[in-house]
Symmetry: D2
């Protein structure tokens, strides 16, 4: 039995805590959150106890921690958990500062603990199946990747103020998809980003311009082997959460479509109508969140390698920095 | 907190027990199965105790029972549970004999307990959404229903020997769909079957003929209002579990497609390929099984009406009998 | 160069005449229609001359005739064309009376001319591709056929008065689909209808009941080999012309979907929307009409066998009669 | 009756000539091609005469010419046809040199003749329907455009040598789509390209690198209003001709899918399979080619405005030049 403490009882903390509690062979022991009401409610619901990070990390029975607290607490908690010898599952990002993220990676390595980063899209059934087929060579060598990533609506500009900007806040997941799909070593030695060009606009909410951010972006990455990636994002898709990618290979194409709540088709005098995509990330990635936490504990047991590690968090962050720089400077960033 | 005993630790019993155990406000207290190993394993996995129907029904703390034991035990357990004042969730069928099923319904009524029948298709997200839209009048008045219901492969002929035949064993679910979609009162007074014509063949496995059964069937039902229903079934669909229906209304059509594991589309030199349907009922109806048990306990709490009752079990059974009779006699059965 | 006379300058005559005129190696010489204005307009548009059946059949330069005149003129024109040694392309039906249709077939045979019947669905690109794959064995042995055939709206009841009833007027095409898909000899010796059960209702327009007809029907055919066919039809589909079939084989399923004008998908706050099906038969079968006439003249040149012959017209008519009888008598018609 | 001369009896000339010949009110009078055999065959097939550009332009009865000859003859023929007062339908491009294309535009203007450029994609039923809905405001204000444009296979590198490079040879159509979809004045004053960034690789055929070209490209265009466009192209798609775009607006999304030959879906033990896209441009754009020529002659009659003019040819060419420059210099091209 693995004993676990979850840090953070907010929206994403509740999801991870619930998934942890439902896993056979895993026990959710502590829930920690400075907002006592949140911690109490979540702990009561799942049969866990309320604690503090200090106490939880000092508890010898705890094997692993799940970090789902605000972004600016991640690197500190990683350092402390690593020092305490606890395995770590940490929500993205490691840290908005690449140097601090690198320090976290070093601390994790020194401590010899596992540290998986919550890039849940790698566990989405559709995305994971596409990657598996690509890795099996079903469409030959990958050549081009087109990623579409659109939120149903923009958050308030004030929220975005502390987010690090669209490339660090929103595209970080897309940069991880790029690395996973175009750069993983699938028997070909892998690949890596070589140049990055980013551009963007404020088309959704003019307030977002006032906090120095954009709400639509287009990114182009060229790899060292000449593979090409285009990412398009918007903070607003009137029709729901739009999460797709397609990868062109020398022998074919893999397309990942959106998920939808039901398979009803309605035909009437005006329309032939199917369901809109799942509304937002909590719906679309419900299964992915469940699977990534299960994967984390599976890997802790042994044989299987972790699908993500802290290095993936650092590398995605570097790409987000490069995109931000390209957008601000208006040019291509070379030799990533 | 509602305390529950589950009778039957086989394939479907394990699903119901797991779903019961995961419900907030519900406690799985006892698992009962004459096969001790099955009962022990399931109870241990879900933190319940092993018991017997006698003991469980005698336990005053038990509020409800889930009957997932073999078909020939259903009516006896319903009688005993009703007599003990326990609410009942029972897998289909109530009983292979219509008269015995009617007696069960009478006993349930006399005892004043709830008795829901496990027609899980009414809880499938796709089917339920279609029914809800129909009930809201989105396609006008229902006129025709076409039901496609195909298993991925035929069970051994020996298994089918005691099944009551294809109409009672397999089409019972389709007859319930017919009643739910074409006969529910959606503000129009409802409707009912008037005539039934069934036909069939042995095209899959000649052994099935030897036990007096068929493996493909076609059924036509005409309602008292003249609505028309066609059902087509086969014990074998090489491409997986095929579960669809479409209902034509005066203002449009609702089609219910199959579910598939992922939304990957693969295009190569030979194909444009999507996923096959979910493999079989445990996959396709995983969510439906979860939702029907949650619904049962929701309804026990109060306000909402049960989506199925023991009368639905009896009526579906009558239609199965009529279909069997039509097939055997080679003619139409009138005045159902 | 083949010289052709077209009889009938109405809706379907204009289509055939236009397709004939566009064929290389074929010359549309005469257009015949008792309504002089129609004949004149069509002839002028296509560079042909106006004539009469008598004159056209007496003209030694005419090789073939296309009969697209009213139903009650077909058998007479077939007899006269055959007697004159002209090859014949005739719109369905051969005749509303089966005995008269059989006499036509005898006359055609005696004269040694070709006589193709306009079952244009056999030339629809989707249906023809499905049949070709079935014939190549891609889904194994055919077992079940489900045909959906719905018009966008009912014609006036008065028009239906002389139509012979829904089974002869509308389902004749579906009966031909049944024969083509389930009964063609694809290396298995072929098959034939054995029993027929038809049922129906008036749900669209009560006036249709007054002329002794129905507007919705369901038909079940069982073949001598035990294959099963279900046909469902309605005179009204609010969403357009609905023309589909699916055939289940021992190794898979072939589904034929509707055609739609464009491949636009529109997603907005309310819908994910694709095009409605092509509006009616002139749109859906535009390509089929072109291809069947081209096929007729190809076959006249030599090698290839005609995809339909007058016997197909007779056999479909027999099935329509059996369906009518089954519906009127309320029972199964045996030994077709 | 409009009399027409077609210059060029190659692949595309034959298509245009056939479409011209089939138009009511239009007469194909002359076919001109230095390859006598081609000219003779095409003229014979369509009932036209063989001629030379000199003679055809000198013939006072000729109203319009269709220029479908090799690219390097276009500007000369435009000048001569304009000087002769003939209306012009010219295949893209006007000329590989932007200055020469501008001179052609001036000559056309001075002569007061019509000059439509063969951007046939604007007549594709799917693309045209999407543009019409966008223009009607069905998805609000356009914000982002993603264009996918892939050929089934690369031509020989030697052919590409004289093509002007991938941006001028292949993306010229995509640049026109960009202008049509993101820049047309749909009541909002229209828009125009502001910056252009292009990148590319040789991933398909190393020989293509030797002639100084690339076979995969990614392009980003930002408009003056901040709208964003991404184009991805490849000379090779193993699954056929891939021609799609999607445009995101403030209120929704319009997606244009590929066309496919039939609507058959095949399900078997291995696959759920639909048709591959139409094989190449002659199949996919068959209807578009027909419609654009019909549109040209409709517009010559009067009221309706031409959907493309020579200015569209010039502007697309400028974008192709900018993309070439961006790719070669490795940076963004500003103030287009």
């Amino acid at each position: 039995m693995k004993n676990v403490a979850v840090f953070g009882a907010g929206r994403i903390g509740r999801i991870h805590a619930g998934n942890v509690a439902a896993l056979p062979g895993v026990s959710l022991k502590f829930v920690c959150d400075p907002v006592a009401a949140s911690a109490n409610e979540l702990a009561a619901q799942l049969g866990a106890k309320v604690s503090t990070p200090e106490a939880a990390l000092a508890d010898a029975s705890i094997d692993a921690v799940v970090i789902a607290s605000p972004t600016d607490t991640h690197s500190d908690l990683i350092h402390r958990a690593a020092a305490a010898g606890k395995h770590i599952f940490c929500e993205k990002p490691v840290d908005l500062s690449v140097p601090r993220a690198i320090e976290c990676a070093a601390a994790v390595k020194a401590a010899g603990v596992a540290c998986m980063i919550g890039f849940q899209r790698r566990f989405d059934p559709t995305f994971a199946e596409a990657q598996a087929r690509l890795a099996r060579g079903e469409i030959g060598v990958p050549e081009m990747l087109v990623v579409t990533s659109r939120d149903p609506g923009a958050p308030p500009a004030q929220y975005l103020k502390g987010s690090g900007g669209i490339f660090r806040d929103m595209l970080i997941h897309d940069f991880d998809i790029f690395r996973w799909i175009l750069c993983s070593d699938i028997g070909d030695g892998g690949d890596a980003a070589d140049t990055m060009t980013a551009n963007g606009s404020v088309l959704v909410d003019p307030e977002i311009a006032k906090v120095g951010d954009i709400d639509c972006s287009v990114v182009t990455i060229r790899t060292k082997k000449g593979r090409l990636c285009q990412i398009n994002t918007s903070r607003r898709a009137a029709y729901g959460y739009d999460q797709r990618f397609e990868v062109l290979g020398s022998k074919g194409l893999l397309q990942c479509g959106n998920h939808r709540p039901t398979e009803v088709v309605q035909l009437d005098g005006n329309h032939v109508m199917t369901d809109k995509p799942e509304h937002f990330f909590l719906q679309r990635y419900r299964e992915a969140y469940r699977l990534e936490v299960a994967h984390f504990f599976d890997c802790l047991q042994g044989a299987r390698p972790f699908r993500t590690g802290i290095a993936d968090g650092v590398e995605a962050q570097k790409l987000a920095d490069a995109a931000t720089q390209s957008w601000q400077a208006g040019g291509k960033v070379m030799q990533l």
